[in-house]
Subunit: 219 residues, 2 copies
């Protein structure tokens, strides 16, 4: 058996084990920004294309080589990573702590739900823009593959509780389930939440309860 | 009835209601430092006395006018509040996020448990010291009056779970109970934990379970 086949087999076994135990790997997201194609050009120059630095766990997503500076009424945060590829609307995701630093109040929102969210100024090497809305603090959520949803007994849009152990043992409520055949099993929290529960990347959380079922697609 | 008597009566009624509901006001502690009398002199000058800026909720404690700068291998944090009065050993309490900023790893410890904790350099207006140990990330805890302990059915040294509601609803495990006739009912968490659960000062938490009983003083 070659290395690649052994790797695939191990991945398959780990996935089975996690599904049986209802366990989910946790990843802490640092502040980052998704840019619309138009805003890429305004910040980095006409015709500019983002450069892939590192492939991320969810499909087609990558950390770009490019970074921007966020400028708020109280302070600045430099070196904020751009996530590619360029897509629909510009969305900036920061922690509540970052909000204090900048002097703004990001609402806690699901990705894409930007209506009436916070304004922020974004500085790139070739330009500066101020978006009227688009700055949020991302709500806790779990990406999972369709087979994970079946194994865990949850559907897209359900809301669950996730427990993590340790000296800062914590149960997170209001964790949104997002199911797609394109997703890989992973819970996303921000740095405040990771620090509060003393979680390092790769730690496992356990889904211990379903708090609510999605009325549309849920069972 | 005069104003003072009404105030006392209201306090008494609120205390009764909180005890019945097993609810606890939550306070988020920003980074701060307790200094030994010797270190006050080395940082602020021979014979220096700390100046009271604001009385804190626990007895005799006050936020001092004085601040220091913490200096770690990666970065500095200025304007760190000194808590008075000067006492036994110097203890610096920061969040895990502050640990990243400084480039150090504060262990999660109860107040006073400093053996083998992290080293840090402290800069004052008249001098600079480096402590070999004393930098910690304070473990979650609840101060309560003896009568609160009786009403809640918990004793000094017990460990409980505390639930907070809202968009970032969270259940905190491993919350240490500290009972004294000198304490006022209050749960102390750090800024990472407050942000993770979207808690503002004065929010209430509910004690929902006792995780372990203190073998010495517990029932």
């Amino acid at each position: 058996m070659d290395k690649e086949k052994i790797r695939d087999l191990v991945k398959e076994i780990v996935k089975d084990m996690l599904q049986k135990a209802k366990q989910v790997p946790i990843a802490a997201s640092n502040r980052h920004i998704h840019l619309s194609p138009e805003h890429v050009e305004r910040l980095f120059g006409r015709g500019y294309q983002l450069t892939k630095l590192k492939v991320l766990s969810q499909p087609n997503q990558f950390a770009a080589k490019e970074t921007v500076t966020l400028i708020g009424p109280r302070g600045k945060i430099p070196n904020v990573r751009v996530i590619g590829p360029a897509r629909g609307n510009t969305q900036v995701e920061v922690s509540l702590f970052d909000g204090f630093t900048l002097g703004v109040k990001p609402p806690i929102r699901n990705s894409g739900d930007l209506k009436g969210s916070e304004s922020i100024t974004i500085q790139g090497p070739r330009g500066q823009i101020t978006i009227k809305e688009g700055l949020i603090c991302a709500a806790r959520h779990i990406h999972m593959h369709t087979s994970d949803g079946e194994a865990f007994g949850v559907a897209d849009g359900d809301v669950v509780q996730v427990k993590v152990d340790g000296p800062r043992g914590t149960i997170f409520s209001n964790v949104l389930i997002r199911v797609s055949p394109k997703y890989k099993l992973e819970m996303h929290i921000d740095l405040d939440e990771a620090n509060a529960a003393n979680i390092k990347n790769g730690y496992l959380g356990e889904i211990i309860a379903v708090e609510s079922r999605n009325q549309v697609s849920g069972g």
